[in-house]
């Protein structure tokens, strides 16, 4: 009972980087929830007279082309960016994981069909597929979430399938059958809890990628529309000002993006250590 907690503490202590990652994650969640209430300026309030001001004490991150406070916008954007990625990953994880587990357990036709579906999705460069899906189903934030979920599905399905297939013939699964458990219970009640640790690692690693994808889509104009504050679209708006030297419009949202992705990637590595120390990179 105390063992996992003690192990967690051990990993944190011996790995300050992981500890940093978890702290940053906590900070992001906090900003996501409380951000809009604690920012100094209204992220949508434009003051044309104060446009394109470099960072100063009044505006920590400077102002953008219509005089909005970049700092407030970056903080406010945390919620939307996190929401998009988390919902997309959650959908991928649940659906992809379930399909993969079924496929790995049953084999045969289920496996073949799922394999074909996954192969078809992965036959496209994934970002391009997301572009196509959003273009086809309409340029809304919901569809960005849907597209991101679809392109992330194969990762979870594949991991779930592999992990279940490895355990399918293990002695304890046979023993569970001998003890009178039905196949459904064995799969979802016994095997799935066993594969949750590697799936968790996959989530952390994948979340960073989902954030990058969503931001990339909004960078090229899909999903989020101005004046909504979102990191990708803010970088896109700031891009045209880079060549004239106004770096702060694009830099700060970009840094925020980078920090978010970095945090999740570090967390993924840390979780991998927690779960399976033999597999450290």
């Amino acid at each position: 009972m105390a063992k996992p907690l003690a192990h967690l503490r051990y990993v944190m202590a011996s790995n300050p980087v992981t500890f940093l990652a978890f702290t940053l994650f906590g900070l992001m969640v906090f900003l996501g929830i409380f951000g809009p209430w604690i920012v100094p300026y209204d992220p949508l309030a434009s003051t044309p007279t104060a446009a394109l001001k470099p960072p100063s004490w009044q505006h920590w991150f400077g102002t953008d082309q219509v005089g909005r406070d970049v700092f407030s916008r970056v903080i406010t954007a945390t919620r939307l960016d996190l929401l998009i990625s988390v919902s997309a990953v959650a959908m991928s994880f649940v659906i992809g994981g379930a399909l993969g587990a079924l496929s790995g357990f049953l084999g045969g036709w289920t496996d073949r069909i799922l394999g074909r579906i996954l192969d078809t999705i992965m036959a496209f460069p994934l970002f391009v597929l997301a572009m196509g899906i959003v273009a086809a189903s309409g340029n809304t934030v919901e569809n960005v979430v849907l597209a991101t979920a679809i392109i992330n599905l194969p990762f979870y399905a594949r991991v779930a399938r592999a992990e279940v297939a490895t355990r399918r013939h293990a002695g304890w699964v046979q023993a569970a059958k001998l003890a009178g458990n039905s196949d459904l219970i064995i799969l979802f009640g016994r095997i799935v809890p066993n594969i949750l640790p590697p799936m968790m690692v996959q989530i952390s690693l994948n979340m960073g990628w989902a954030i990058l994808n969503a931001a990339g889509l909004s960078f090229i104009g899909l999903g989020v529309r101005p004046p909504t504050p979102e990191w990708g679209i803010m970088v896109a708006e700031g891009a045209s000002y880079i060549v004239s030297g106004e770096w702060w419009l694009a830099l700060f949202p970009g840094l925020a993006l980078m920090t978010a992705v970095f945090t999740f990637n570090l967390m993924g590595d840390g979780m991998r250590d927690l779960v399976d120390p033999a597999r450290r990179t």
Binding site: A170, A175, K177, P193, N194
Partner: protein
């Protein structure tokens, strides 16, 4: 005349840096090896026997280092020599072979080329002559068709052949010392003998000295002049096989000698003096004469299991050639229409080498696998008619249970011992009252000698023997009439095996169960089973009472199998 020692290990200690601190894997170990001599280092898992030889060869893992002591070879201090000098010595003067031969070879390089690499490295051949010499080396290890085999890849060769290739690599430059680390583990019994004989012949003909590292005392006794026994990193005793077997001094050695099944008269004899059998009352009657008598009485009652023409085929994948010819390849017949009976209270041994179909047979009988044809009559019903999924929930499931080979793999890593044992109570016997479950679990644990304090533990917190007991308790939970045991002690240390085997015999007597004991280890079968069935290529080629089959085998193959088992102290007066 005592020849000069060519390898002298004195007070060697090896430490490893781990997360939990420094671990002493080897502590103050000394041994001497003379020219032409074969020394065995015997110990169970964790004894440090392999680490000692890795230290001598200086191929320890990065986390390990020699903390004190010395290892001297022909005047050279191996523990202090620079890497460049050691590189010269390895392969040329001192060679080592490992277990798991296929993994020991580079999977994408032709095997002959790997031998040639060694020859070229030690200047025993040039690029031009290397191929020829490599083929010669392959011939010396008795690989047929060496010219063709030169360009074969490891995945195309059997385990035994891969080990021969590894031996060829090791002996290519005629070293003075050969260290063999568990060279026969994982190989079939007949292949084991072939490999050990090969090693012995080659080392003798070259005048080499060799060190054999093994957990099998019988193997050590047959092939070695001197045995060093290690326990937990220390040498506890050393001497000739004669001395150790007849007059063991250290209690660990005594326990090890007793636990080795060869030449044991009965199961009880396997147990060390200090370990008592599980139950004193209802003493175990595992004398073979006894069980033979009661076996005769039992034959009058109807069999608890009858297998008639049981058959299992697996479809083969089509190769390109089949596809072009428009043919379907014939299926692979794993079990070829076998028939036999098991009577109540009997213990039947099903023996054979890997691939003979014994595991497939046991899986079909346990109804974890559907047969292709034939019938399985259990307690008057043909259970082959049920589909696997139906049987899982049926009434008869409770009466037919199984104990698995690898105790680690047979327990759900996330459930406690108590939950594992309670599983069949909840799902098969449909008991819902939690207190009753608790009581029953405790009773079962008691029956198998598992301390109640261990019940809330997870599998990784239990030892191999404890996990085996949990598996047995779980199988007993539903009071089965027939218990299928698939190599239940193969993964256990010899001393633990002795205890578990006695437990199994004890339970059988007390609970009146029948056993189907699947194993490749003939010695264990000899001690535990009333009748034995010998399988080969999917067929039962010989069957009969154990004593009869072992003393007077009819079939050539059975004779081969029996001869392949190591003969500890052959010809030594007892």
């Amino acid at each position: 005349m005592i020849s000069h020692p060519i390898l002298s290990v004195r007070n060697l200690s090896v430490e490893f840096r781990t997360r939990q601190g420094t671990v002493n894997a080897v502590n103050d170990v000394s041994l001497t090896l003379r020219k032409g001599q074969t020394v065995a280092i015997v110990g169970e898992s964790g004894s440090g026997k392999s680490v000692t030889s890795y230290a001598v060869m200086r191929i320890l893992d990065r986390a390990g280092h020699i903390s004190s002591g010395s290892a001297e070879f022909s005047g050279i201090r191996l523990d202090q020599a620079p890497e460049s000098q050691l590189k010269d010595l390895r392969g040329r003067e001192i060679s080592m072979i490992f277990q798991n031969p296929r993994a020991a070879l580079n999977p994408i390089r032709p095997v002959g080329q790997q031998i040639a690499d060694v020859l070229i490295e030690h200047s025993q051949a040039t690029r031009a002559t290397a191929r020829e010499k490599a083929i010669e080396a392959l011939r010396r290890v008795r690989i047929g068709n060496p010219e063709e085999r030169f360009s074969a890849y490891p995945f195309e060769l059997s385990g035994g052949m891969c080990q021969r290739v590894v031996i060829a690599m090791a002996l290519a430059c005629n070293p003075q010392i050969l260290i063999a680390d568990e060279p026969t583990t994982g190989l079939d019994v007949t292949t084991q003998r072939a490999v050990m004989d090969l090693i012995r012949d080659l080392t003798k003909s070259n005048g080499m000295a060799s060190i054999l590292i093994t957990h099998d005392l019988g193997l050590a006794g047959e092939y070695c002049d001197n045995i060093v026994v290690m326990e937990r990193g220390r040498v506890v005793e050393s001497g000739t096989p004669h001395e150790l077997f007849l007059h063991p001094r250290h209690p660990y050695t005594r326990r090890l000698v007793k636990a080795t099944p060869h030449h044991a008269e009965n199961l009880k004899a396997l147990l060390a003096d200090t370990v008592s059998p599980v139950r004193e009352i209802d003493s175990v009657t595992s004398e073979r004469s006894d069980s033979h008598q009661s076996g005769f009485a039992r034959e009058v009652s109807p069999p608890v299991l009858e297998v008639i023409d049981l058959r299992k085929e697996f479809p083969r994948a089509r190769t390109m050639r089949d596809w072009m010819r428009g043919e379907k390849p014939p299926p692979f017949v794993a079990v070829d229409s076998i028939s036999f009976k098991i009577f109540p209270g009997e213990s039947i041994g099903l023996v054979g080498e890997s691939g003979c179909g014994k595991s497939t047979t046991s899986a079909m009988i346990a109804r974890l696998l559907d047969p292709s044809a034939g019938s399985i009559w259990f307690r008057g019903k043909d259970i082959s008619l049920f589909k696997t999924s139906e049987f899982a929930q049926g009434m008869l499931r409770a009466k037919l249970q199984m104990v698995f080979q690898d105790p680690t793999e047979s327990l759900n890593p996330r459930t406690t011992a108590e939950q594992a044992i309670a599983d069949p109570l909840i799902h098969l016997l449909q008991i819902t009252d939690r207190r009753e479950i608790r009581t029953r679990v405790k009773a079962l644990a008691d029956q198998v000698g598992l301390e109640p304090a261990l019940l809330p533990r997870l599998p990784h917190q239990l030892s191999g023997g404890q996990k085996a007991r949990v598996g047995i308790a779980r199988a007993l939970a539903s009071a089965p009439d027939l218990l299928i045991l698939d190599e239940p002690t193969a993964a256990l240390d010899v001393s633990v095996q002795a205890v578990v085997l006695n437990l199994l015999a004890d339970l059988k007597e007390r609970l009146g169960m029948a056993y189907l004991f699947v194993s490749h280890d003939l010695e264990v079968v000899r001690l535990l089973c009333d009748r034995v069935l010998v399988m080969r290529g999917g067929r039962i080629i010989e069957a009969g009472p154990t004593k009869q089959v072992f003393d007077n085998p009819r079939e050539e193959y059975t004779r081969e199998l029996l001869a392949a088992a190591p003969r500890f102290l052959d010809g030594v007066p007892q």
